[in-house]
Amino acid sequence: MKKYIQLTPVIASLLLFLVATVTAQETTNGQSQEAPKQGETKSVEPSDQSDSKKSDGKEAEQEGEGKVKPSEKKSDQKKDQKKDAEDSETKSLAEKARTSFRNRFNTNKSQSVSKYSKQSDSFVSIFDSILGSVDASTVQVVSGTRQVALGTVVDADGLVLTKASELRGKLGVEMPDGKVLAAKVIGIDKPTDLALLKIEATDLPVGQWSNDPAPQTGRWLATPKAGGEGKATIGVVSVDAREIPPSKPFIGITMEDVEDNKGVRIKSVIPGSPADFADVWVNDVIFKIDDLEIKDIIGVRDAIGQYDVNDRVTLGIFRGEKEMELRLSLGEQDKLSPNSKRSNMQNSMGSVLSRRRKKFPMAFQHDSMLTSKTCGGPIVDLSGNIVGINIARAGRVSSLALPVNEIRDVIEDLKTGDKAPEKVNQAEIKSISQELTEMDEKYSHLPNKKTVLEQKYNQERARVEELNKSISDLKKRLKVIEEKKAVYGTDLKELKSQISTVEKTRQRLEADLEKLRIGSR
């Protein structure tokens, strides 16, 4: 609850040119709402923020006791009906506010479900009759103990299809009975982002694959749950199967031409961009990208346009007089460009998007509310036949599935072992290994240098410590002596005063004695 409130201004301030507004919903007593003003940007003062935090938390909890009243509509009760509708509208928004925090950070769980939504139990349960066999052939792919994707059993003897780009670390497959089996990647297909896993199992259930062409817009689809958890996700085809275009590659610099077409000068480096990671500096001059000479800004754009996202390129640059090479992996414009931030923000509201969600040879778009973790599994039509493999949560309104007819050959290919990761990624593995070797050579003297420096440093540190110790001892002695000095000082003062008193007495007595002797007293 509190997190939600705190998050709001953060989100709003992230989006500099986003038109955000706080919209008041109609209140239960029917007062009309304050409404969004065009061009009004929401900003929250820190003090207001903490005030509202407190009161909101309380009220939300109180409201939590109330249930949304079912509003049966009858024509002779129009006014009451209307009020009911508005009541439940307000309450469901309160409900939303309460659950929002949970959903935001736990998007693997289902969204807050209204009894009317297409994810309501009553609606989803209609699909039970067609999902039986597919449920059994849908598995969870785990990395360590964390679920990363769903998988589709494609061979009874332990072959599972899943989404390659979500795989990390030590992989396992959690079977519908809850048992986790170790999994090995035996093939990956870059264009479709499919991976084939091998697990040690036999007699696994395999779902029925459709032989029909890809489903058309408006066809119902169900993504089965994996194992005993959760429930199916329902949707319809939103856009007929098509090629999904790639994201444009992105370096993350602004630049200007330099004199005589000798390259481009970096004007700024976007933080967190590939250029930033590669340590490109402002005022560096790019004169080469791989083997291509760069004359001007258009040259850079043309050159980068030839590459794909994640391709590795080498920039030839001048930093002052010094010529050097910087290597970087190209990023995705859609993800990294500041211009895309607003749409990225909206697209990731409500679900976690897949790492890879662009560039597929053929996919149909549907409106099932998947997350990155519920991709990789099968999706079925009303006959219960597998019509596709969910391959990406691509945006707030968009999930993508590869039609089965497009991937049959891919699966056969993956089975051969010719597409094992080490083979598919051979070139990149080689390139990075080479870079590592070069780095090792280039910086081989550094450990030695480090040892020497460490020794010197430690020596000096020991000396400093020794001297500090002496200083501390001397200070202690000094303190003792000063104390003694103070005591002697006090004694001396007392003694002087005594002497002076004695002296005065003596003078008085001598004076008296003198007077007595001469008889003047």
Binding site: T8, V19, V22, Q25, E26, D51, S92, A94, I126, V239
Partner: protein
């Protein structure tokens, strides 16, 4: 103090920063009107009552219903490009009135570029038809807006359009379809269809689980008859927070919207009078009265049917006429002993 129970942070759904297509893209083909929803066999009451279907057979019925209405819906749904932003809209009359969201069009009397993107033709190419429209009335408070097509390529013919249903009669749980151009116009992709249910329906906002995103703004929410029930407006952070402006808001304010009025704006004439009189002391340059030709020293006699005798009666007339920015009034003044009748277009307070 903000009460979160009644407030939800919403994000308008138009895309900013989209580049307007170059003029040579204005060559396109004729759009085809196809509006034929056939009567259905079987009982389809559940599509409107708010119930969930109970059998796979009913789901199949729904599929054929989607197919029947989507062609008509897509032919009437448009992309709207303003100078710096774009969104969606829907044609609701054969003579080219378009409904959208206020934040898509911004202000009345602007030019908008309208794109009809119909299904693929025989050659597999998307049929694209361009038109120009003028933005009309808006209510920024509720986020409603209207445009009218003023110029279209190709032969003159009627526009494909959707009928407007009565949104007050919607039931919670009722099945609906949302169509639009999420992310902006994408010819290779075309329009994007979503199916969902009404989660709540009030006088000022409808909430559904048809997910929306930037670019959908202004697009149509449709019932299972293929009739318009709402216009996409804004979203909250949850996937079930998709908010639409109810269709009744447009029906009830049709005339005002068509007159390009700013329904949530305060009227301004752009004059000051001498003390408590009806004599004009000051005419703000470039504002309503100035544009209408009023001069300092004019004595206002009449505004529409209201006689004006002093400052109080002037104020009363403005109040009783319930003037909105952009509405036109007849104003009678005496200038140099002569009566003059002028037409004045009301301005908006706080705007140039």
């Amino acid at each position: 103090m903000l009460d979160v129970n009644r407030f939800v942070v919403c994000f308008f759904l138009c895309c900013t920063g989209w580049v307007i297509l170059p003029a040579d893209c204005l060559l396109g083909q004729e759009s085809e009107v196809q509006a034929n929803v056939q009567s259905k066999e079987g009982d389809i009451d559940f599509l409107f009552s708010g119930e969930a279907p109970k059998t796979i057979e009913q789901l199949r019925q729904m599929e054929s219903r989607f197919a029947e209405i989507s062609e008509k819906v897509k032919s009437a749904t448009v992309n709207i490009q303003m100078s710096l932003s774009q969104g969606s809209g829907v044609v609701v009359s054969s003579d080219g009135y378009i409904l959208t969201a206020a934040h898509v069009i911004g202000d009345p009397n602007q030019t908008a570029k309208i794109t009809f993107l119909n299904d693929l033709d025989e050659n597999g190419e998307p049929k694209v038809v361009f038109a120009r429209a003028k933005t009309l009335g808006i209510d920024r408070g509720i986020d409603s807006g209207m445009l009218k097509i003023i110029e279209k390529e190709g032969e003159e013919n009627d526009f494909p359009y959707l009928d407007i249903a009565i949104s007050a009669e919607l039931n919670e749980g009722q099945w609906v379809m949302a169509v639009g151009h999420p992310g902006g116009l994408d010819k290779a992709r075309g329009m994007v269809t979503r199916i969902g249910r009404i989660l709540s329906s009030g006088k000022r906002v409808i909430r559904t689980d048809c997910t929306l995103v930037g670019g959908d703004s202004g697009g149509p929410l449709i019932d299972m008859n293929g009739d318009l029930i709402g216009i996409h407006s804004r979203i909250g952070s949850d996937l079930v927070d998709n908010l639409h402006v109810p269709a009744d808001v447009y029906s009830e304010n049709w005339d005002s919207l068509a007159k390009a009025l700013i329904l949530d704006g305060k009227p301004s004439l752009g004059i000051n009078v001498v003390d408590d009189t009806n004599v004009i002391k000051e005419v703000s340059e470039g504002r309503a009265a100035d544009n209408a030709g009023l001069k300092v020293g004019d004595v206002i006699l009449k505004i529409d049917s209201f006689d004006i005798t002093d400052k109080a009666s002037l104020g009363k007339a403005i109040k009783e006429l319930d003037l909105k920015p952009n509405s036109k009034i007849e104003i009678v003044v005496i200038r140099e002993a002569e009566e003059k009748e002028l037409e004045l277009k009301v301005g908006e307070k706080g705007k140039d």
